[in-house]
């Protein structure tokens, strides 16, 4: 068996046997929801209804109901798109990159982080779809033979690269998630009492694909997980690089920079980990998983937040330096305008939330404090939304032609779709937390003997 240095802090607290882990993971699925769950679910559902109404109005009337104008042709929709895609990145990073690095602490959080990835990418996908104006023609983005003459998609366009990147990312993340879920669904299937819950038994039997845990199955399972992690790792870096190409390949000052791919990827991981913290800090309390998602896990994630926050901070400063050093007056003005122009407040919210506030994580007292972490995670989420807003809107609202300079103000439909998408996301996540095994219990059991508290005594 694998042994681990006794100095390392345990990742599973208390005297947890294999059976205890099974019971703890199956409990939220088999038990009734508590009041807290229903309250949060109710609020999310209201927001989700707002989303449906806003989306219905947008599709029925056209995207003229948004606050876009001739100068600012991309605003909240693309901001939200990039924000949600970025949030998704943490899930893949935890499940794939940390698997390759053999980080055991990923095992308590990877399932929920991957769920977050999938639900976030679902939200992200709705925005370009709606921005098309006629979403029923969305299939035009795929290279399919058609009856419009030899009209094909343009493979030179980063927007098309995005189509390929996001669809690959979504489907591969989903498959990765599901492969890991099969043994855990089987556990729930075997826990459900057929006498009292025949339908539930049937559903989990179907979901578990008849998993039985044969030695050869496990061997293949481990190989598939490893190879999928190897594939998902470059994939996750490519996805946000390609999202950044949407901007970087243009000639707009403030967008046309070569540091965008690493800068966007760091920002994505940064915002994604903040969202994982937001979700898990609540979930561990509500579902009672404090023994598995420990302060140590929170601290590790906070360190990632601090690291990526600093990378983002360096990118902000590099942008400013390059704008000055390039000698291009349009570039210089774009950045001066960001910091001191009419959207100065957005720029400084971004700077405060993303660069200054994560510095507090240098203090061990603060980064191991749950309440502080939760508040900081919210700050980071807000800051990263403003980062995308600053990059998109402030770069185009004052372009080359001063006579077209203008401002952007969102309409209630813009606000409805954005806030509603948060509701939609939480509806999905809350349903997930009641019906899915929220911890990869099968794989977690493999580290009980090396990393749990009882074996470290």
């Amino acid at each position: 068996m694998q042994k681990e240095s006794p100095i390392r802090e345990p990742l599973i607290l208390g005297d947890k046997s294999y059976h205890d882990i099974t019971v703890d993971v199956a409990k939220p699925v088999l038990a009734k929801a508590n009041k807290m769950w229903w309250i949060v679910f109710g609020i999310s559902l209201v927001l989700f209804v707002w989303w449906i109404l806003s989306v219905g109005y947008t599709i029925g009337t056209g995207i003229g109901v948004w606050g876009l104008n001739k100068t600012v042709g991309w605003a909240w929709d693309i901001t939200n798109f990039v924000w949600w895609v970025g949030i998704g990145h943490a899930g893949t990073l935890i499940s794939a990159v940390l698997l390759l690095f053999r980080q055991k602490w990923r095992l308590s959080i990877n399932r929920s982080a991957e769920a977050m990835t999938i639900f976030a990418v679902v939200q992200a996908g709705t925005f370009p779809l709606l921005h098309m104006g006629r979403p029923w023609l969305a299939y035009w983005v795929f290279p399919i033979p058609n009856n419009f003459g030899s009209l094909w998609v343009n493979f030179n366009s980063p927007l098309l690269w995005d189509v390929f990147a996001i669809s690959t990312y979504f489907s591969v993340s989903f498959v990765f998630w599901y492969v890991g879920l099969i043994p855990d669904f089987a556990m729930i299937r075997d826990k459900v009492n057929e006498k009292y819950w025949p339908l539930r038994k049937k559903i989990y039997s179907i979901l578990s694909f008849g998993w039985s845990g044969r030695a050869k199955d496990w061997q293949r399972f481990e190989e598939v997980s490893l190879v999928l992690a190897g594939l998902a790792t470059p994939l996750v870096f490519s996805v946000h690089s390609i999202v950044s190409f949407d901007f970087a390949t243009s000639v707009i000052p403030g967008w046309h920079t070569t540091i965008f791919p690493p800068y966007f990827v760091a920002g994505a991981v940064f915002s994604g980990f903040a969202m994982v913290q937001t979700l898990l800090l609540v979930m561990r309390k509500v579902v009672g998983l404090e023994a598995y998602i420990t302060i140590k896990h929170v601290e590790y994630m906070n360190i990632v937040i601090m690291l990526t926050g600093n990378l983002v901070g360096i990118a902000y400063l590099t942008e400013l330096f390059m704008a000055w050093y390039s000698g291009v007056e349009f570039e210089q003005y774009a950045f001066l305008n960001r910091a001191t122009g009419p959207y100065w407040w957005a720029y400084w919210i971004m700077m405060t939330c993303n660069v200054i506030s994560p510095q507090l994580m240098w203090f061990k007292k603060l980064r191991t404090n749950i309440v502080f972490t939760f508040i900081l995670a919210l700050f980071v989420n807000i800051g990263m939304w403003f980062e995308r807003f600053v990059i998109i809107v402030t770069s185009i609202h004052r372009d080359y032609l001063p006579s077209s300079w203008t401002m952007f103000s969102p309409t209630f439909v813009d606000i409805g779709i954005f806030v509603g998408s948060i509701g939609f996301f939480f509806v999905l996540f809350l349903l997930y937390s009641r019906t899915f095994p929220v911890i990869a219990q099968a794989e977690l059991k493999t580290i009980v003997k090396s990393s749990s508290e009882q074996y470290k005594k």
Binding site: L160, F164, V172, G213
Partner: protein
């Protein structure tokens, strides 16, 4: 004497692993081992061959890569070359750099999905499939060794001696 199937149930994966080694050294063939989680070294102890899924994934990736190259070549060069923003579109090697993202994504797409389909196929996993595990506790905390033999007495004693906590014998008609 009729053929019997013996289920040895274990509480701990290390005990099971030692028992597997013991049983195998006595030239008794183990039909199957069911466990709630992957056990390091079990495939080796059981004498299972290395899985070739990674090789399959590599081949699928190559197929995806070739498909993407063909797709971009056919659409952008062969079928309908267009002058888009002055970017060259008359020779593949000149335009290719712009297609790298799509080629990469298609490689990953093919490799991942076809590998998972192969995995599900090889493990016979699909919606509606019934579990083949003889004991539902094997997804919880029990480890089960399945042996088919005529002589259930000797095997039961051996399993007991090597740490099995429970022995169930079933006759096969």
């Amino acid at each position: 004497m009729s053929k019997k199937v013996i289920y040895g149930i274990f509480d701990d994966e290390e005990v099971l692993l030692n028992s597997v080694k013991e049983v195998r050294s006595k030239d008794i063939s183990i039909k199957e081992v069911y466990s709630p989680f992957p056990i390091h070294g079990l495939d080796h102890a059981l004498g299972l061959k290395r899985t070739r899924l990674a090789i399959a994934a590599f081949i699928y990736g190559c197929i995806g890569c070739a498909t993407a190259i063909w797709l971009t070549y056919y659409i952008m060069i062969l079928d309908w070359p267009m002058n888009i923003g002055g970017k060259p579109s008359f020779a593949y090697y000149l335009s290719m750099p712009a297609f790298v993202p799509v080629i990469f994504e298609m490689t990953v797409l093919f490799s991942a999905h076809l590998m998972v389909i192969t995995y599900l196929f090889k493990c016979k996993l699909f919606p509606g499939q019934k579990t083949s595990s003889p004991d539902p506790r094997t997804t919880d905390d029990k480890f089960l060794m399945e042996i088919e033999s005529d002589d259930d007495k000797t095997i039961s004693t051996l399993l007991k001696k090597t740490g099995a906590t429970e022995i169930n014998v079933k006759e096969i008609a």
